[in-house]
């Protein structure tokens, strides 16, 4: 039983990825094909790349990538080809431009703001302490001592 289960597990990943029988001129072309199709987003089924998707449009786009690779197009040319037709939407790794600037650098910006806030808090505390040096003193006044004693006494009795 276990052996069969193991065989099933081996087979499972194959059924997820769409399979096309493409022949490449060089192994490098094949790697390029796999990288490009993994990085291009399927316009129909938006949470999949065109390598994984079984949608007819993804199949067409894979065929197109294959055709362009065999025609000798560079990776950047293939990506441009897709972007002029389907927009920047198809890029899983968007290019850095004025639209996507915040997407790329926003997190660093937020991190910077956070660091500033922490520095400010630390600075304010220090300044506070410097302004009231006696605030650090923990000893109680006679009056406070008497009140504390009374409270403790009450507690012990209760």
């Amino acid at each position: 039983m276990q052996r069969y289960l193991f065989l099933l597990m081996l087979w499972a990943p194959l059924s997820w990825a769409a399979i096309d029988a493409y022949e490449f001129r060089t192994p490098v072309d094949e790697i390029r094909f796999q990288e490009l199709t993994a990085e291009l987003r399927c316009p129909k089924c938006q949470n999949q790349n065109i390598a994984d998707s079984d949608a007819p449009i993804a199949k067409d786009l894979r065929r197109e990538v294959y055709r362009l690779i065999n025609a000798g197009a560079a990776d950047s040319e293939i990506v441009d080809f897709m972007v002029t037709r389907y927009g920047e939407f198809v890029l899983y790794r968007p290019v850095v431009n004025s639209h996507t600037w915040f997407l790329w650098y926003g997190p660093y910006l937020v991190l910077g703001v956070g660091a500033l806030v922490i520095l400010m808090i630390v600075y304010l505390r220090k300044a506070n302490r410097r302004a009231r040096p006696d605030a650090k003193k923990t000893e109680l006044t006679a009056e406070e001592r008497a009140r504390l004693d009374a409270l403790l006494e009450k507690d012990n009795k209760g």
Binding site: K44, D60, R85, Y86, G87, F89
Partner: protein, 177 residues
């Protein structure tokens, strides 16, 4: 001052809440066409009605028109077809792109459900569709008299969508005049 600082988390929460709430009503399937304000891609494809005759971009220019991408395998195309017929009767120029379909089935469809199209381009391999960034039928484009794409709608055309398309057409015609 201190008290005001306490409201920062609330303000952040409200800000994020607003954007998330707005996100509920956005349709992620609506992708702006990369081809808006760009010319129709060049093509030379046979006409569905007269297969011996080839159509090019020149056949679509001259006036503001709709270009409708359809196929017989597409249920939503059937849904919108009667509305397209109505539009054609009102005098709207509609060109059809029969996208990745079988000509025999497409011809039978037009005989059965009537033909609202001035010309039907036969794009059996989907090459023109690919050049236009079509990712699912039906899609309807507004093109101006020079054949420049002005608007793209994905999904069925109904009375509501037609209002949007009409606004675009009026704007395009206004700019051209």
């Amino acid at each position: 001052m201190r008290k005001l600082l306490l409201f920062i988390p609330l303000a952040l929460f409200l800000g994020m809440g607003f954007f998330l709430w707005k996100g509920l009503y956005l349709d992620p399937r609506e992708i702006p066409s990369a081809l808006v304000d760009r010319p129709m891609p060049a093509f030379e494809l046979p006409s569905l009605t007269e297969p011996e005759r080839n159509l090019t971009v020149a056949d679509l220019t001259g006036e503001v028109a709709l270009v409708n991408v359809w196929a017989t395998w597409c249920p939503t195309c059937k849904e919108e077809h009667s509305f397209l017929n109505q539009l054609a009767q009102q005098g709207v120029t509609i060109y059809g792109i029969n996208y990745k379909d079988e000509p025999v089935k497409a011809t039978a469809w037009l005989q059965r459900y009537l033909n609202p199209y001035r010309e039907v381009i036969l794009d059996q391999e989907g090459r023109l569709g690919l050049d236009m960034g079509v990712y699912g039928a039906p899609e309807t484009y507004v093109i101006d008299a020079e054949g420049t794409i002005r608007y793209r709608h994905v999904g069925a055309v109904d009375a509501n969508v037609w209002k949007q398309l009409q606004a675009v057409i009026e704007q395009v015609e206004g700019a051209g005049a």
